[in-house]
């Protein structure tokens, strides 16, 4: 895909986010916030036998943050929680497919980081070591 097609895909996810909403009783949940630009996501997960049954989210913010989180909901479906917890940022950047400045990379990986915090809190999967281990919600600084 060229740049323009990636942008169309991004805008499609932004305008029609997948798995948007919340569960009545999620198995894992966390909030993420990017104070610099005001992006917010709330991530919820239902588990099925140690795997991601479904990830849902709500939020508001720039197109990159919301579209990337929407893409993530498709990307993690069926992964084991360990696989999801270890998913590299590059995976979501590859999905987006457009060049991002370092500032906007934070927008792109907000949803993924928040998912990792949710899994860490409820299942105890490890967080990326550079985050420390007491994250209760994700706040990029």
């Amino acid at each position: 895909m060229d740049d323009e097609l990636y942008r169309e895909n991004l805008m499609d996810h932004y305008r029609h986010p997948r798995h948007h909403g919340a569960f009545d009783v999620p198995d894992a949940a966390a909030d993420g916030h990017n104070p610099l630009c005001g992006d917010q996501v709330a991530v919820q997960v239902r588990l099925e036998g140690g795997r991601i049954g479904e990830m849902r989210f709500t939020g508001n913010g720039c197109a990159v943050s919301q579209a990337a989180t929407s893409m993530l909901t498709d990307l993690v479906q069926g992964l084991t929680v360990e696989e999801a917890a270890a998913l590299p940022s590059q995976a979501i950047l590859d999905e987006l497919g457009i060049p991002l400045s370092p500032m906007r990379v934070k927008c792109a990986v907000l949803g993924l980081g928040t998912l990792k915090v949710a899994l860490h809190r409820s299942i105890g999967t490890p967080l990326p070591p550079e985050w420390g281990d007491d994250a209760d919600e994700l706040v990029w600084s």
């Binding site: 805008m11 305008r15 610099l36 630009c37 005001g38 720039c62 197109a63 500032m103 927008c107």
Partner: protein, 414 residues
């Protein structure tokens, strides 16, 4: 055009080499001068010539180069003193930037004079540089922070002053000369009268105004003033603190080391005289030479002409931005009560998306909270897009912004 009658930005652009470059195959429309200004060739040449011909450390050398470099450094101080109409060159302290200048006042002058229950007054308009140092002083001394609020257009409200005056001894009023986010200009004269009636000193953050209009410290009657070289056509790494001589004289040094001492034994030291008492270590003397060249350039163009041009280009921008669907100006809707800064929003597109799409048009704007998180929160926002103007901003730059914004709406499908 009326704008061209006072100053011709298109002609001035030729003095700024960076404005000739292209980004993404398009000529640059640089609309982020409130963050940092671009640099005229004359300033770059003077710094280069200084390094190429006169470079040696200042205030030490007995040899010719050292004398020349000291003369150049001190001549820069004279140029700053003249720019601000300071009563004396001893009132001009070179710092790293405006932030360091404000920290110097907070830490070295105000903190030792503050006690529990004393009052520090500042405003919700402030850049973090004129907020965080006061939070630290309050924490260290037990002083109380009191904030003047703004209305929904960002206009500063003074009605809390009477209540604040009854709460305790007011030690300092720290206020911006012009909001870097909204461009609004607080009523400094009124604040100065009130503060002095309380026996408080006034600290003015003039980082947004020294670059673009005449700033006269004696007329303003403030007690300390800070600005940055890099927003003033000068290099990074140099800023200025101006302070009343009597106040600087009674202030203990901020940083200590070489340069700021008169004599040193192993146990004790006597301080140098003003202003060198506040300039520990090798100062940014080459940058001072660059700042001097920048001030010469500003004086050649004329600060009154620059101020008039900024008003005209801001009025033009406000009129043109009104043509963009769903665009909302944050701050006063007219140009009369603001400087060359316009913050805006689109109700249906996030500021970061706007800035990124504008970048593809080579239009440089800032998106975010602009180091004024409390103000952005007070206005009930998460971020804004900010376009800011300077002497080289032409109507064509504003037209490019408007065209880019229309493309933003196309790309985002709104």
């Amino acid at each position: 055009m009326a704008i061209d009658a006072v100053l011709d930005p298109v002609r001035l652009r030729a003095d700024f080499p960076i404005l000739a470059r292209e980004v993404h195959g398009r000529p640059l429309a640089y609309l982020d001068s409130a963050s940092t200004s671009q640099k005229p060739q004359a300033m770059l040449d003077r710094m280069m010539a200084f390094y190429a011909t006169s470079n040696a450390n200042v205030h030490r050398g007995v040899y010719t180069l050292g004398v020349e470099s000291t003369d150049a450094f001190e001549a820069a101080r004279d140029a700053v003193a003249a720019l601000l109409n300071a009563a004396s060159r001893r009132e001009i302290v070179f710092t790293r930037n405006a932030t360091e200048a404000l920290n110097l006042v907070a830490k070295a002058h105000v903190q030792p004079r503050c006690g529990p229950g004393d009052i520090i007054v500042t405003t919700v308009l402030e850049h973090h540089a004129n907020l965080v140092p006061w939070q630290v002083v309050a924490r260290e001394t037990g002083a109380l922070l009191r904030f003047l609020d703004v209305d929904d257009e960002g206009v500063l409200q003074l009605d809390a002053l009477d209540r604040i005056a009854g709460e305790g001894t007011v030690r300092v009023v720290a206020v911006t000369h012009q909001s870097n986010t909204l461009g609004v200009r607080p009523p400094v004269a009124e604040l100065v009268r009130w503060a002095h009636a309380q026996g408080a000193v006034v600290v003015l953050d003039a980082a947004q105004t020294v670059p673009n209009r005449p700033v006269d410290v004696q007329e303003l009657d403030v007690d300390f003033l800070a600005f940055s070289g890099h927003k003033t056509l000068g290099p990074t790494g140099i800023g200025v603190l101006w302070g009343r001589e009597a106040l600087l004289a009674e202030t203990e040094p901020f940083l200590t080391g070489g340069e700021m001492i008169r004599s040193v034994s192993l146990e004790r030291t006597t301080w140098n005289t003003l202003p060198w008492k506040f300039e520990a270590g090798t100062p940014a003397f080459a940058e001072a030479v660059g700042l001097h060249a920048a001030i010469d350039y500003l004086n050649d163009v004329g600060l009154e002409a620059i101020d008039a041009h900024e008003h005209a280009i801001t009025a033009y921008a406000l009129a043109r931005l009104a043509e963009v669907p769903a665009l909302r100006i944050v701050g006063p809707p007219d140009a009369a009560s603001r400087g060359g800064v316009v913050s805006f929003l689109m109700d249906d597109v996030h500021p970061h998306d706007i800035a990124e799409i504008l970048d593809r048009h080579a239009v440089c704007v800032r998106a975010g909270h602009h180091c004024t998180q409390p103000l952005i929160e007070r206005l009930g926002l998460a971020a804004t897009v900010r376009a800011s103007f300077y002497l080289y901003t032409a109507e064509e730059d504003v037209d490019r912004l408007v065209d880019g914004l229309l493309d933003v709406r196309r790309v985002m499908g709104v």
